[in-house]
């Protein structure tokens, strides 16, 4: 998150020295200065208003953080389990025993699966729409992808539970049989319904596809014509033009878009809660049912939570918040490292 440093650059009005005898007080520079003095009142009001909104935002953020931290501390100090390593989530019990190990693992793993599937597909679609498809085709495709982004996540959840889960049985058996040796695709009980982290990952991939596609497409469309012509004039084919000028120019955009998608995947609630058969299981076998995510756990447990249970859920939410912050920070580091070559200075 950027701090609003702009508000510090409030321009101070330059001092206009009126040479005596050159202009009478009523005309010329003096009159112009008086008129612009009225205009500068507007400037000051606007600067104050925008600075105020910036500060208000920071105050609200800080208030939320303090509230969450206090409630989380209450829960964590009452916890009889280890907050980081305990598998089960019995926050309503007396004494409460809960830990985030399963939730953190499930959140990160399902998001990684989603990214692995969604990013290449999204970049491919964005390249097709921006550089391959004829305009007549590109616009309808872009429109349909926008529509995907407008579908509420509970609809994705229902579709996932009623359509995707039964139709993934075949894929699960195939992966188990041919890629089972990789452990992650080894299904312990091949007959079980695939309400697994893997299925959640696929569903999340579909859900984050539109945002990644749209942002990368916008970036690809902004590649300066001169960069593409430089490659063309050297005798580059269309793919070589993309490799030499489009992808390098769009790299930081692809990373930013992926982070937006990852943010949604990490925090997705209803779709995951609908599809996953949650249980305190932490396993490397991604096709096995069970596991959980932060957001899913909050959605599932909130209704029946007592005071302690709610505070515990808040603590888990704080961890999700920290994970998201870390991921964003890492992405910014990657972008900053390549700044010199970003094309922004061309």
């Amino acid at each position: 998150m950027d701090t609003p440093s702009r508000s510090e650059h409030t321009p101070s009005p330059p001092d206009l020295v009126t040479p005596p005898g050159l202009t009478s007080p009523q005309t010329g520079l003096a009159a112009a200065s008086a008129a612009s003095g009225r205009a500068r009142l507007g400037d000051r009001l606007f600067a104050g208003a925008s600075k105020g909104s910036g500060i208000l935002l920071l105050v609200i953020m800080a208030a939320i953080a303090v509230f969450l931290a206090v409630r989380a501390t209450v829960a964590i100090s009452a916890n009889e389990g280890n907050f980081l390593t305990t598998f089960e989530w019995n926050a309503n019990a007396n004494p409460p025993v809960f830990g985030i190990a399963v939730l953190a693992y499930g959140t990160v793993v399902s998001s990684i699966i989603a990214m692995v599937i969604a990013v290449p597909v999204a970049v491919g679609i964005a390249l097709f729409v921006s550089h391959y498809a004829p305009r007549r085709l590109a616009q309808p495709i872009a429109f349909v992808i926008d529509l995907l982004a407008a579908v509420p996540s509970i609809i994705y959840g229902l579709w996932g539970a009623l359509f995707l889960v039964p139709h993934l049985t075949g894929l699960n058996l195939w992966l188990d049989e041919y890629l089972g040796w990789t452990v992650i695709f080894d299904k312990t009980n091949p007959a079980a319904t695939p309400r697994s982290l893997f299925t959640v990952g696929i569903l999340l991939a579909i859900m984050i596809l539109p945002i990644i596609t749209n942002v990368t497409r916008e970036v690809f469309l902004q590649v300066p014509r001169a960069h593409e012509e430089a490659a063309l004039a050297l005798g580059a084919t269309r793919w070589e033009v993309i490799r030499m000028s489009v992808l390098p120019f769009g790299r930081s955009g692809i990373i930013s878009a992926s982070m937006l998608g990852l943010g949604r995947a990490l925090g997705e609630t209803m779709a995951v809660a609908t599809v996953l058969s949650a249980s305190p299981v932490l396993t490397a076998h991604l096709l096995d049912a069970g596991g959980g995510t932060f957001a899913q756990n909050i959605a599932s447990a909130f209704k029946e939570a007592n005071d302690m249970g709610r505070d515990a859920l808040i603590a888990s939410g704080l961890v999700l918040f920290v994970i998201t912050l870390l991921v964003n920070g890492a992405a910014r580091l990657i972008i900053a490292r390549h700044k010199e070559y970003s094309g922004a200075n061309a």
Binding site: A226, L232, L234, E240, P248, F249, G343, A346
Partner: protein, 258 residues
């Protein structure tokens, strides 16, 4: 290396709009030919038809023939990608690949041609940068980004990139219009050296530049506003600037219009 270009009956279109009409001319091998004329008369469009860059603009098309020695660039089965590898181009604004180092910028075209041995690349990069009079300025920072150079250096980097693949013709579209006078002189000196090895065609708005660097000059003009551009005449540069055979050329050169 250098080859002759024979253009006959060439017209270029943007959609249904005809931009240049029925141009025929010969560009002699190993010489510098300058295109001059008022803005919008189609000089740059015509230049871009000579390496099939015109058609990359959506809706653009070309009619007519361009012979490189005896091969028609617009003949059936001719791959525009292959044409552009034979006929290099330098643009109005320096456009080094911003994500690449100086070295990689020069090597970009070589890598497209499948040259990947470090030793070969090193040799050609050095030779090309020397050919573009840039070697001494950048030899200690070949791994720095090309976009960090000054405008004039960037343009010479683009020339190095274009000549690295040993094209037969080098097209230059107002290569000095974004540069200061000193960088411009450096590029003009370079053009005089390069014509030993390449056939050079240069579009310029600067008539002194045309007079300084070119052997032959072609004057383009519009018949009227909204009409396509036409070739008015092409002749020895000396003749065009002292005693042109068409009145419009003399009017333009002496500053009476345009």
């Amino acid at each position: 290396m250098a080859k002759r270009i024979d253009v006959s009956g060439l017209s270029a279109f943007y959609g249904k709009n005809k931009a240049i009409d029925d141009i025929s001319m010969t560009v002699e091998p190993g010489s510098v030919t300058a295109f001059i004329g008022p803005s919008g008369c189609g000089k740059s469009t015509f230049l871009r038809t000579l390496n099939r860059m015109h058609e990359v603009i959506p809706g653009a098309s070309v009619e007519g023939k361009v012979l490189l020695d005896d091969e028609n660039l617009y003949g059936p089965g001719v791959d525009p990608v292959a044409v552009r590898r034979t006929i290099g181009m330098v643009f109005q604004r320096p456009n080094p690949f911003p994500t690449m180092s100086i070295y990689d910028n020069v090597a970009a075209g070589l890598r497209l041609n499948g040259i990947s041995r470090k030793k070969d690349l090193d040799d050609i990069v050095e030779r090309s940068l020397k050919g573009a009079n840039l070697w001494n300025e950048v030899k200690d920072r070949l791994n720095r980004p090309g976009a960090g150079l000054s405008g004039g250096q960037q343009q010479r980097l683009c020339i190095a990139r274009a000549i690295a693949v040993e094209p037969q013709v080098l097209l230059m579209d107002e290569p000095c219009s974004a540069l200061d006078p000193i960088s411009t002189l450096a590029i003009e000196d370079l053009i005089r050296e390069l014509k030993e090895r390449f056939t050079i065609v240069i579009v310029t708005h600067n008539m002194q530049q045309a007079a300084r660097v070119s052997d032959r000059t072609a004057f383009f003009n519009l018949a009227a506003v909204g009409q396509p551009g036409k070739l008015i005449e092409i002749d020895e540069t000396e003749r065009i600037f002292s005693n042109p055979s068409v009145q419009a050329t003399e009017d333009y050169i002496s500053g009476r219009f345009g």
